[in-house]
């Protein structure tokens, strides 16, 4: 029997590590120095603490607006908008196929009118807003720019992020609309548009988090994500209109932090170093800021369990600590009741307090990269990076990410790992308190389920009817027509046209349909 002790991703571990395990010193220069293994900034979190960014949003724009204002009053420093599935997949709230899903897992945004309500009384030039939106990211960005300008806020002052990472949707999250080629074009359009006109806004947050939640391990999560990042940067660079230094500072990343404490820390350090080298070596970046790996994360997700659910408070706290020791720039701490309910106000507040205690009371933010130079952490960082390089090399050799998405290879890798993990949990090889260790008779909390607010949905539909009857039909037809014509050509940036559509109160579904007419739809390989 193999008695090697391994990390969650399968990395064999020694009993202890020593000076001989440290990498060459050029790999671990001081914090704030290329390749940024030890963090992006010389002063760590002293200069700027990480952002506490709690994901929330549900029901109608009015309800979500009230929750956002509450979170900001409680000391939240950024917003993170959850959108309902119809909005994410490109359907208006009145589409016959989506009636069960309107306002269910996030807020429904059909037109500019909804976005105006969503951000009512929230200072758009002072807070940053992150949107978990992919298939329709360009349209949501157009709504946001249009809403801000209608209130007199210059688009150049807007701060925030759209996720805008379609490749992982094809594999693990599922909110695709169009096939990869035109989708990559639209993403490149948003990157160029942000670089030129919304310079403080991240045009993309390349997300490994969803690979992770679908079953990938920490090494795969980082490798797949960096490959996606390369695919997007290749797309923009290949157009020849912009150099890497003009847009790379607006590319950010997003991951899950799960339970293997040191492996997670090593993952962030290894990812930072790898991305820095890729940006310099592959694209010839001259500005070190282009090489910085800006990272947001979630503590929670698939690492939380329903049995003995209060244990999740402890899990999230450890994961949050690992994230900060790994040097993330923003964090969402999940609520303990997430595995079986939409978080209550109490559990959502406790999740925020978890970060506040970590930042205010533990002293963890006083010194930059406190684990730098640890024999174990540095050796593990090296090993994670080596394995990430190997996985990336395999993917590149097979023809890159678009191919791996289209032929189902990536789906298979993730399903295999998810199955392996499930077997180790079932067998008890991977110990989980309350699940396969220290079980009690304590009843597993009841799944609460969120009763859809029928009145809210009715209000949403009413507003859509109202908007449609009060807008100028001529403007709608003209802006949609211009969008369709531009979509048929390859060399026109679609973003300004989408902003025109938003200002004319075209619906999200109308814009999506025009583009679907030109581009068709993605068909997912069904691998299990």
């Amino acid at each position: 029997m193999d008695d090697t002790v391994r990390s969650e991703a399968g990395i064999p571990l020694e009993v202890s590590y020593g000076p001989e395990d440290l990498p060459a010193s050029e790999s671990i220069p001081p914090p704030g120095t290329f390749p940024f293994t030890r963090g992006n900034f010389p002063d760590g979190y002293r200069g700027r603490l990480w952002t506490f960014r709690q994901y929330s949003g549900f029901g109608t724009p009015e309800e979500s607006n009230a929750r956002y204002r509450y979170l900001l009053e409680q000391g939240g420093t950024g917003l993170s908008v959850a959108l309902d599935l119809p909005t994410q997949c490109g359907y208006d709230s009145d589409h016959p196929d989506v009636e069960e899903e309107v306002g269910r897992v996030g807020v429904a945004l059909d037109t500019l009118a909804d976005v105006e309500i969503l951000f009512d009384q929230i200072p758009l030039d002072a807070i940053s807003t992150s949107f978990t939106i992919n298939g329709t990211a360009a349209i949501i960005l157009a709504f946001y720019v249009a809403a801000a300008e209608k209130r007199g806020v210059d688009r150049a002052k807007l701060r925030g992020t759209i996720q805008n990472d379609i490749l992982k949707e094809y594999v693990s999250r599922g909110t695709w609309i169009w096939p990869p080629r035109p989708s990559l074009r639209l993403i490149a359009d948003t990157i160029e548009f942000c670089a030129e006109e919304v310079p403080r806004f991240n045009a993309i947050s390349v997300a490994g988090a969803h690979f992770r939640d679908a079953g990938a391990n920490a090494v795969q999560e980082m490798a797949f994500t960096l490959m996606d990042g390369i695919t997007y940067c290749d797309e923009v660079v290949a157009r020849g209109r912009m150099t890497i230094d003009e847009f790379a500072p607006q590319v950010s990343f997003f991951f899950y932090t799960h339970g293997d404490f040191f492996e997670e820390i090593a993952k962030y350090r290894a990812g930072r170093r790898r991305w820095a080298r890729i940006v310099r070596e592959r694209y010839g970046a001259k500005d070190d800021r282009s090489c910085m790996f800006r990272v947001g994360c979630v503590a929670g997700g698939a690492s939380l369990y329903a049995p003995q659910a209060h244990n999740n408070i402890v899990r999230v706290a450890y994961e949050a600590l690992a994230s900060v020791l790994g040097g993330v720039q923003s964090m969402f701490t999940a609520a303990w009741d997430e595995p079986f309910a939409l978080p209550s106000e109490d559990s959502a507040t406790l999740a925020l307090r978890t970060q506040q205690v970590l930042a205010s009371e533990t002293g963890v933010s006083r010194v930059a990269d406190p684990l730098g130079g640890s024999y174990y952490v540095e050796a593990l960082t090296d090993e994670v990076e080596a394995r990430v390089i190997e996985v990336m090399g395999d993917l590149e050799q097979r023809g890159g990410m678009v191919k791996a998405v289209e032929d189902g290879h990536l789906h298979r890798l993730i399903a295999d790992e998810a199955f392996r993990v499930q077997q180790t949990v079932s067998s008890g090889e991977r110990p989980i308190v309350g699940v396969n260790r220290f079980q009690t008779d304590e009843p597993t909390p009841e799944m609460e389920g969120y009763e859809l607010d029928e009145a809210g949905r009715a209000r949403q539909l009413e507003r859509l009817v109202e908007v449609k009857s009060s807008r100028s039909a001529g403007d709608v037809a003209a802006t949609l027509d211009a969008l369709g014509k531009a979509a048929a050509q390859d060399d026109v940036n679609l973003m300004p046209l989408l902003v025109d559509c938003a200002q004319a109160y075209c619906t999200l579904g109308e814009m999506v349909d025009v583009l679907r007419g030109e581009w068709g739809e993605f068909v997912q390989p069904t691998v299990f």
Partner: protein, 134 residues
């Protein structure tokens, strides 16, 4: 003869980790699995169920929209002349909705946390009932 099972996710929810684990576990347990994937319309699920001549249709729904989607899929199966196909549902399903799902036409409901062995045994029992109607 192995029993044919169709596994699909109706609606827009893309979380397919559970559906894929179930598909693979059923295959390993001797079922013949047709995996249809995510974002399937109820009418498509019914059409494939007929075309592939499956005896069981398993839906996985994590978005909370399980009651409406189960009702629609049950109706689509009846409309396609496949009302005798067993419909089972898994996902993030609160206890209070189990009866509603059964009323909507579900032969069995497997909320999150159901051990895979339990699910396999349940489907084997249901299959035996189909094979030997009393």
């Amino acid at each position: 003869m192995p029993v044919r099972v169709l596994v699909a996710k109706p609606g827009l929810d893309g979380h397919d980790r559970g559906a894929k684990l179930v598909a693979r576990t059923l295959r390993d347990a001797g079922f013949e699995v047709v995996y249809l994937g995510i974002r399937q319309r109820p009418e498509t699920i019914a059409a494939v169920a007929v075309q592939e001549d499956v005896r069981i249709v398993g839906l996985s729904i994590l978005s909370g929209a399980h009651v409406g989607l189960t009702e629609k899929t049950a109706k689509a199966l009846r409309d396609a002349g496949a009302g005798d196909v067993l419909l089972v549902v898994g996902g993030t399903i609160p206890k209070r909705d189990v009866a509603r799902l059964e009323a909507a036409g579900a032969a069995a409901v497997y909320p999150t946390g159901t051990p895979l062995e339990t699910l396999v045994e349940s489907l084997q029992t249901l299959s035996a009932q189909i094979a030997a109607p009393s």
